[in-house]
Every structure is written in C-alpha cells, then in structure tokens.
Symmetry: D2
Subunit: 366 residues, 4 copies
C-alpha cells in the first residue's frame, strides 16, 4: 500500500532508490507566500551529506537540490513543491555480489519476502539515502516554523556508552565537532571509541535528542494524532531508530506521581510549568514548555566483521560487508530527526488552525 507519504495538511511524499537516477520529495499543502530558495534547503542537506568527516562514508555525492515546482519569484505558491537530488556517484556494480545474500540487520530479507524480489543496489529504497527527501522537506518545514518563531534543534546525546548529561550541555559546541554533540570533550572521547570500533571492523549506535521551543500551546489532535504519537511515528519511521521517548520517557515509568507531575505556576501573568518532566506534552498536546524527544539509533548494520547469514538459495554462509559505510550513522541522522520533528510540527500547526470557532472567525469574518 501507499506508505511513502507523511502528514495530513503539510504532507510529504518521498521517492527514490540509493543507486537510481535520483532521490526526491513532493511537499503538498505548504502555505503560499513562504520565502524559500535552493540555498535554504541545501544547508540542511549539507548536514547529512556523505564525506563530512572520517566517521562518514566516502561516497562522493554533493547532493545538490533542485526546486522543480511550487515556488515562483522566491515564494511558495501553495501548489506542490517538488524537490530532487540527482545521483552522481552511483556504483551499482559494487553491489552485484550482494544480490543473492541477505545482509544481517538489513531489509534485504524482508523486502524480498514482501515484494518477491528487490532492487539490491545499495539497499535500494531502504538505503539511508532515502532520508534526503525527508531532510529537504524538513528544511521547508523549518522555514515555516521560523516565521512563527518556533525553533527545532537536534544533536547527539550519546554515542555508544558515551553520553552527555543535560546539566553539562554546551549547545554552542554542537556544530563544532563531527559528531554534533553538545560538548567537544565528550565528542572527542566518543570519536576515539568509534575509531577503535572501525579498527575492529565493527560499528556502534547512539541517542539523538531534539528540542523545539516557541510552540503555541495546544498543538496535537486527540486522541490518535496526539503530538507525541505523531512524533513517535515520524521518528520511528527513520531507518535504524529502535526507540522514541518524550520528556523523562522510560525513566518516568520508575518515578512517582508527586515527582513526575509538573506543577503549574504563574509567571508574568501567564501560566507555565515549574519543571518539564512531561517534555512539553500534556494530553497529547504541546503544553507551553520546550518539546523534548529522544531517539535510539542502532549500530550500523553494514560491518566488515564476518557474520553468519543465508543466501537467496537458502544456503548458510559467511559475509563480510566492505564498501563505503559509516561506522556510526548517528551524526548524519541528527538532521533527519530534526527534519521529521519540524515536518510533524508544521503539520500540526496547520491542523490546529481549525480547532475552534474563534480561529475560524478570525479568518473568515469580514
């Protein structure tokens, strides 16, 4: 069935395979009159493109985006925005030997079982390159949010066992290290850990955290399209994500009501919360505090270390996966988590417009 779209009003549809002619996204439902340019979108794509550091794949792709529709004289027109990145460094032949093997941790087996066969070139549709479309759409969503003073920021909270505690965050350092961690010192230790794994032909994972500030209260549509539910859907749909939590998340399960509840207080005449265990979500709607979510990223599945597996003829065998693979995908996934969060927020912002008659009369009463 059609599973390549996400969102209800601000709705994205992605397409493209790792070694096909290109990768793209169509954004439908973006309001007219938003200023966007290819440069704006390129900044986001550059944060996920390969070759940024020694921890990322050497595949040589500049990932230049082209706006094909929906923008006229620098502004969105309200019609669908089609964005495309042409592939450059396609090496499908690198993958010929993988055509008949199910790589552990990958989607080779499940794709084959579902569809009867698969595009085996670099993982085809299940490749990390699929996230180019998400990232480009996230750039547009972020521009929309910025117009309303909403800011979304993701970063690496942990790499393998190396984690940074909230109290130690140095947010200004996020873009200063190759791992996008809010702390250069921990990032250096984590980098050494990655290097040691690379030497062993192994890989690791980590945790990405994303915060959003400036949200109006009340975003989220009870009961199934709650803010946290849609965010969980959005983030869990990114390949390699194995868990999502909001606010205190799993730690809340071990807490007590008197500790976990955030007291309401007034400050400068407005209602706010004294703490933020809820991570900015109450009853599935934004509660005025910062939104906080975390995503658990599994270790890169492609490793050179020999692994036990089976081929398409049903024979047991060993496999060592060589090629241009990231030893950890967390740093490049940071902007993808940020993008999916921005897309979800933009959509819910538009969905919330029809929540009550007061809003409606603001638009239509003359």
């Amino acid at each position: 069935m059609s599973g390549s779209s996400f969102g209800s009003i601000f709705r994205i549809t992605t397409w493209g395979e790792s070694h096909g002619p290109g990768i793209g996204v169509v954004i439908d439902g973006c309001p007219a009159g938003l200023s966007i340019s290819e440069e704006d979108i390129q900044k986001y794509l550059d944060r996920r493109k390969p070759g940024q550091s020694k921890y990322t794949t050497k595949r040589n792709e500049s990932d230049q985006v082209e706006i094909l529709s929906g923008v006229f004289e620098g502004k969105t027109t309200g019609t669908p925005i089609s964005l495309m990145v042409r592939s450059q460094d396609q090496r499908p032949k690198d993958y010929g030997n993988l055509a008949s093997i199910f790589r552990p941790g990958h989607a080779d087996y499940t794709f084959t079982e579902k569809y009867g066969f698969r595009d085996y070139r670099g993982g085809g549709r299940s490749s990390g390159r699929e996230t180019i479309g998400r990232t480009a759409a996230g750039a547009v969503a972020s521009l929309l949010l910025k117009e309303l003073n909403i800011h979304v920021c993701a970063y690496t909270k942990s790499i393998g066992p190396f984690t940074i505690d909230e109290k130690d965050y140095r947010m200004s350092e996020i873009r200063e290290n190759a791992l996008y961690m809010p702390g250069n010192a921990v990032a250096e230790q984590a980098g050494e850990y990655i290097s040691s794994l690379m030497a062993e032909n192994d890989s690791c994972g980590g945790v990405i955290e994303c915060i959003a500030s400036g949200l109006p209260t009340g975003l989220g549509e009870p009961v199934f399209d709650k803010l946290d539910a849609l965010l969980a859907h959005a983030v869990m749909s990114i390949g390699a994500v194995k868990g999502v939590e909001i606010g205190d998340g799993f730690a809340a399960a071990a807490s007590t009501g008197s500790t976990n509840n955030d007291p309401f207080v007034t400050a400068n005449g407005t209602v706010c919360k004294q703490t933020n265990h809820s991570g900015g979500v109450l009853g599935g709607m934004s509660d005025g505090s910062a939104l906080i979510l975390r995503a658990a990223i599994k270790p890169t599945s492609s490793i050179a270390k020999p692994q036990q597996t089976v081929n398409t003829s049903g024979e047991d065998m060993q496999i060592s996966i060589h090629g241009r693979h990231d030893p950890v995908i967390v740093p490049r996934a940071v902007v993808v988590v940020e993008a999916m969060t921005a897309i979800t927020l933009a959509d819910l912002l538009l969905q919330n417009m029809s929540a009550n008659m007061t809003h409606i009369k603001k638009i239509y009463e003359t």
Copy 2:
C-alpha cells in the same frame, strides 16, 4: 482536525467522554465473514474495567458492550461495526470543583488552550475511559488475527522499580495476579510497593511489554508506515505512554553492530534469525521472529498529595485530588497496549495484500 481515527484499511474511529452518555467506536474496513459476538468483545473490556482489584478505581461500571451494526447472523458483513458502552456510574458533580483548576499532569490546561473551554467532568475526552473504544476494536482485530494463527499478548514488565527479566518470565502466571505480571512473586512485591504509595497519597508507573507471534514476513509499508513506526504511533497515542521501543530498543543504542545484528540461519529449510535483538522488525517490516515492543507508562497524575497549580483565573493555588483513581494504571493499560498492537497488525495485514502481482492474481485470476 479529525484525530479520532486510526488505521488505513482496518480503520477505527472512537468517540465519547468520561461522563457523557456513553463511549464507543466504529470499526470500518473489517473483512466480511469473521465470526464475532458481544461475548468475544466483552472479554477484552472486562480486562480493563474498573473494580478488578484494590489497585483499581472503585467507579462502578460494568462496561457492557452492544453491537449496533455490521454483524448479521454472527458474522461481520463488511460494513462498519458500531460498538457502544453506555455509562452507568456518572457522577459529574464530583468534578464541579475541578472545573476551574488545571490539574498537574493532566490535559486540563492544554484542552482549554486549544479549544477555548473543556468538558471538565472526569477529564472528559482525555479520561482513561476513552480507551474503551480502542479495547473493543482491539478485540475484533484480535479475532481477525487469530483466524490466521497470529497471537498478541501484553503484560506488565515492571511496576516502578520492580521489573522482571525476560529469563525469569512465567507467562502462565500473567492472569493469576492483579498486576498482569509474568511472575507472581515479583507481582506481590510490586503490590506492596503500590500499597505503600497509596498510603502516601502518591502513585507510580511501569513498563508494559507486548509480543506477537505467527506474523507473516513482510508486514509494514516503507517508508513512513513501517511496522515499527505505526506501532509507535498506536502505542504512544495511549494516554500516559511516554516512550516506545522495539526489540532491544534504547539498549541497542549502546551496543555494537556485531552484537546487535541478528545472524540469519536456515532451520528445516526455512530462513530464520538466530537471535532477536531487532524485536521482529527489519527495514520496517516483520522479519519472521516474534514482534516485541515495550511502552513506558507514567505514574497516575491524579494524586491526593497536595500539589502546586494554577486556576483558570490565573491564581496560584494548591490542589489535592480525591476521588476514585487508580494508584497505578499499568495493569488496566495492558489490554489497551495489546489492543492497539492488534489493530495495527490487522491493518498492516490487509495493507500488505496488494504488495505484489502474485497476491493480486491469486484473488482475481479465474
């Protein structure tokens, strides 16, 4: 916007407030020819109804379900199945004093901000009673799955700090203790912990685990409607859930590729996995192993312990919430997690039918 529906083909729409005339659900897209009865559905509702033990609210509701449409001579007809539970023990007056107060941890504040006012009787739409519709629909989904030998089972993995390790599970004991834990001994300790919190006018949370076996390989629709993404959406949309993980979940983030990858092996001529760190999901599709997910449930927000809060006039004040509240909602939420999982699986099972031309020719070629 319309956020009260979930699913694409097997699609449910729930309605109802805590102290309104009733609560219900419409299930659309259920295939014709499935045997269902009110008794079948009642069994699921009885697992979440109040008054089951000393750890659950004393509100007196038998929660009797009525089938209003879509079933003829004991079988589904393919038309929408409307299910309703009439309220009995409505005491809206109990809540008059809460009309002007924002309870910490509840949706009072966010509902008011979004919609301009709220039905304050027992939380209105944000009450736990909203899950009656989900549970009834989950019963129907489970019956559909059973026809195909797919079985879904949820239970309490932990209550506050009391948790059961997978190696110690005694699955036969799940229905033997009031907490629905796979281990009566730990359940007893957890029960004492809950009692001690009740004495302190406090509450706690826990973790629910759900497994599904018998799934065909390939369920899940890349790239946004992946099996894990839809499950995260489904389960996170349940009130009080703050985190969802699949397989090793957050633990995978601290693992390495060589450990976390599940080797493929052949057994009796079929491909299977030697381990199940993936929790039964690869590339967003079921991989033939058991599906495993966990949900973090926050502590009950309604506590008698005094809390700081604000009223609708913007005045700071203290609140003690008395009434008929569960000290922990985990045990009653077990069947809700199971229901949402079953609904998601039933929907994806139907979505997967059109995955390839082989399937299509099986249906249409004569």
Copy 3:
C-alpha cells in the same frame, strides 16, 4: 476497505443497517464552540423521515436523534460528535422472502458478490436509511456555515418529465408542497404523474438542484480536491444518483467559449461575474458567485410491477416487490443532497484556512 468516511478535516463516519438496532454518524474535526442541540439536528431529519406525504413510505419511524458525545453545555467541544437514531419499526420478517433473490436495480447482487453474503433485511446497509447519518451530519455542517453567513438550499427541479425553468422559480413555495419544488403549480402536476405511476405499480425519478450563497472566494484544493470534484464525489455517493453537474453542466458542452465564459466586472469596488454559467466554480475553487449543482436521481428500484430476475441459486424467476416503498425518492433525497453539499463546504472552509501565510499569521502571531 474503509469507505464509510467522508471529508478530511470536518470528517464524518456513518454506520448502520436498515433493520439493525440503529443508524448513526460520528463527526470528527468539528471546531469547538459551535452551538448545537438535538432540536437543530432533528429539523433536518424530519425533512427526510418517512410518512411525510402520500408519496413516501408508510414505515413508521420518528427518527429521533440523540447526541452521545462532543457537546457540553450546548456547545461543541472539538471532540468527536456521535449521533444516533434508534430503529423503531423494524420488520425484518417482511424481507425473509427476499433473502434469496437479487432485486433488479438494487445492490443485492453486488453486495453478495463482494462480501460473500449480505444482510438482506430491507437492503441492509444499501437502504435509504443509511442517509440518516449523512443528514444529521449535514445539519451540524449547516450550523457551522450559517455562523459565517453561508446558506445552502436544495429543492426538486424536476420529477420525471415535469421540470421548472430557473426563470419560473418561486423559492418561497419549496416548503409548501410535498415534492419540495419551487413552484406549487408544477408540483401539483408532478404529483398527479406520480399517482398515475403508483396506480401502475411503477416509479419515477427526477433532478435535485442545490445552491449555496455567501461562500468566500477560493474554497477548493487543486488539483484533485477541487470544490466541484469533492461535490461530485459527495453527491454521487448518495444512492440512486446517476449524474452530477455544476453550473451549465452538460449544456456547456454544446456552448461556445464566447457564450460560456462569464465576464468579470467591478461592482461597488469588488470583482464579480456578470453571468454564472460556471455555477460558482472556476479552476476548482469558489469564484464568488452562487454555487449551483444538480443531481440526477433514478426512479425507485422497488416496484410492484413484475420484473425478470435471478435468485441466489441461479434460477431465472419473476419478482413483484411489495412493501413500504416510496414511488419516488426525490423529495426525501432533497435534504440529503443539501446535507452532502454542506458537509463538503464545511470541510473545504476548514481546509482553506492554511492556504497562505497571511491566514497563518492571523492565528499565531501575537
């Protein structure tokens, strides 16, 4: 698949069979703060209920509506509005003899082929009683539109060969005759025609016209959810409708560009159209003129005149359908066409809110 819902933001889901316990609808996405009551909705249901005149079935149903959720203290709360009508005059036994026969012009054969069997009691889901849910939802949509000074009005333009020309309309007479025609004199002739057909055990059809005034310019979402496209979907989904046209409709196909184009002119400083061949729709969006649509209704399929048919055992046979059937369903379908039009307009009114950044800043900028 789930086909019982209509609308994107203002979204309705109907349920119920002719001789089941009841018929109902869930309206999701209705904005909070709209005043509605059971009396408001009842007025619409009374316009379609049986027994209004000698031209309508004698089935005795008062069709009393009950609001089950979504309304608190006389106002919508933003949560789903569940409406139900309990059946009273169920006579399933009247239909036992039809269980094994495919009635010509009815859905008996197609339901059986699709689902494997059918609820044969009074047509089950394909009965005209299914429109109760649509009508009740249309009442709510109409109340929403009225708040914005948008008015929708349907009436009978023709019964069999008896038609009223636009220049002869007497709109004040619509509610004065049993056929809801804008002209009592033609209605009387049409009534005699119906009586003559009743004497011959035959039936007839007609054309319903619906106009909507007060629409803001720009409703409709290019390119697939255009105003006219959604209206065609909405109206064609009503049983017995075989054609839909907008403005000059099929007559436009025989016209020329110079005649059919509506010139723009200014009047009191605003742009308007000098004529309205377009029926209020240009490029799939409302153009500021009155919206005009027409629906062709086929003759009632249930007739007492003997007809050739086949039974479920594949035997050729004759059938004479006796019972409580309308000789023409047009008069009772008038309010259903009006309801579906109102639902479509309400939905597009909400969809249009996010069309441009100016709208968005009106809601969110502080």
Copy 4:
C-alpha cells in the same frame, strides 16, 4: 491543504506548473512485479501532447517521460514510481501581459484570492499541462488492469452540437480521426464546425465517453467510496469538466422504474443483466456489465474574441487572448478521462482485496 493526491492504495501525487522546469507524478502503492517501460508510458502521453493536428496548440513539447524510481530491471519494485517530463518550449514572457489580468473562464481570479498571488505563466498549476502527471499515472494503472484483462477506452462522443449515437459507433475509427470520435463522418463535420469557430476567434466543448470492460463484480467501497462516487471525483477534478454521469445518467431521471431497472438473467450458468441502463454500477459497486461514464467538457476559455474583464487593480477592461491555444480541448482530454478512470479502477481493485475473509485466507493461509 494537500489536494494533489488521488487514490487510497494506488495513490498518485502530481506536481508542476505550465512554465516551470517540469511536470511529474509520484505513484505510490503500485504492486511489485508489474512490467513497465518508458515506452509504455510514452504512448499515453503522445495521445495528449500538443501539435497532433490543426485543432491543437502549436506549443512544441515532445513530453518525453523519464522513470526516476520504483522500477528495477523492467519491473515495478513496490516502491514509489517517480515520473517526470521536462519542459522544453517554455515562453514565460508570452504571459507577462497577463500577470495583472483575470482571464474569464480561467482560474486566475480564484488562485489570486486563495493564495494571495499566482504563478501567471501560462496558467501555472491550472494549466492543461498539469494533466501530464495524470496521464502518465494512468498509463501505469492501465498496464496493471490489462494484466487482469480489464480494458478501458475513452473517446469523443460529441463536439459542440455534433454527437454520435451509440448505435452508430464505429469503434475501430476512434484513432483514425483527429477528434478521437467513433465515426469518421461525424468527426469530419465536427472538424468543419471547429474550423468555423476558429475563424470567429471562438471555441467549443464536447462530451467524452469512457467504457471499461472485464471488471470483476463488486469493485467500489460503500458508502462514500462507491465506484461511481470515486469516478465522479476523479473525472470532475479534470479542468474544464462540468458534469459527470454514469449509464443513462440524467436521462434516467426522466425514466420509470420498470424501464430503468435492468432485469437479471442467467446466461451460460452465470448471472448477468439483460440491459445496462445502470452503466455497470449497482449500489456503488461494479455489477458485471460494462462500466459507462460520460464527462461534459466546457469550451476552451482562452479565445481571441474580445471579452469584458477586470485587472488586478480592479479596473474594468477588454481582453483578447492570443497565443497557442486549442480551439477545443476535448480530443486531448480523451486520454486524460481514460487515465483517471484507469487510476480509479486500479485503486478500487486493490481496495477490494480485503473485502472478505475468503480473499484474506487465499493470501495468508499456508
């Protein structure tokens, strides 16, 4: 809101403006294993491309399609199929003088009112070039249908007052005349009529008919996604369509039940209908007879004859539209109506797969 997608399982999303870099479509939900090539798709695009005859615009576009994703080794993979046509003969400057004028019969005014401004180059998104995406997607849908021996065929039934009666159809002549009429003689007369209008700087419209044969019984999802309702939506969403009818359509409204009902009879042991007034649809589902629909196409709005209009400054003025316009769009719209019909049928074919447990067990029982 997002209105650029159509279909539920077989779902298309179109993008592109008349004078932008290109036009395209993403087809999601197409089953894996269907053989398709660019040549297959090109055949459909060639039937709508400009410059085919003296009755079509002289704009020079070869409309070459490129498959960007979703096809591997000649077969669909189950992932989204992205198709693009690059623009060649863009002359945005031709339209500079139209930037500030609302052309009668066009979407200039409504686009401006809805979105605040518009891409005025050749109508932007409301151009007929938008149908390239629909046509390309229709080619893929048609290939899917052909695999199941379902055939869809559209043609011109009338041009202005020149119409062909069903009994006079010569289907083999459809591709022999520039107007795609099933009768060369009438086509010639109609051609002279068009020439005479061209001499007067005027334009005309017509009626397109589409038939589909080989459909299994039971396609269509009651009650809102009925076969006829979705077809009406699909076809009315094509620019310039002002009416849609099924079977006898508006003529049925003037008929009687005894005439309009199609008797069921047995033939070679199977049930079939003796006549086909219903146009192949009963109760919103395919009934085993040929599907028949008609679409009314209005006259081309762009005419050189002077017309009264208003500019964006609100000044009354006259306009004569010169440029490369079709005097009648009916011939080029034939393949578009066929495409939208094929898309709707393909989607309903997939939707119908989960109608009953018998189907489901055919797929999943081992």
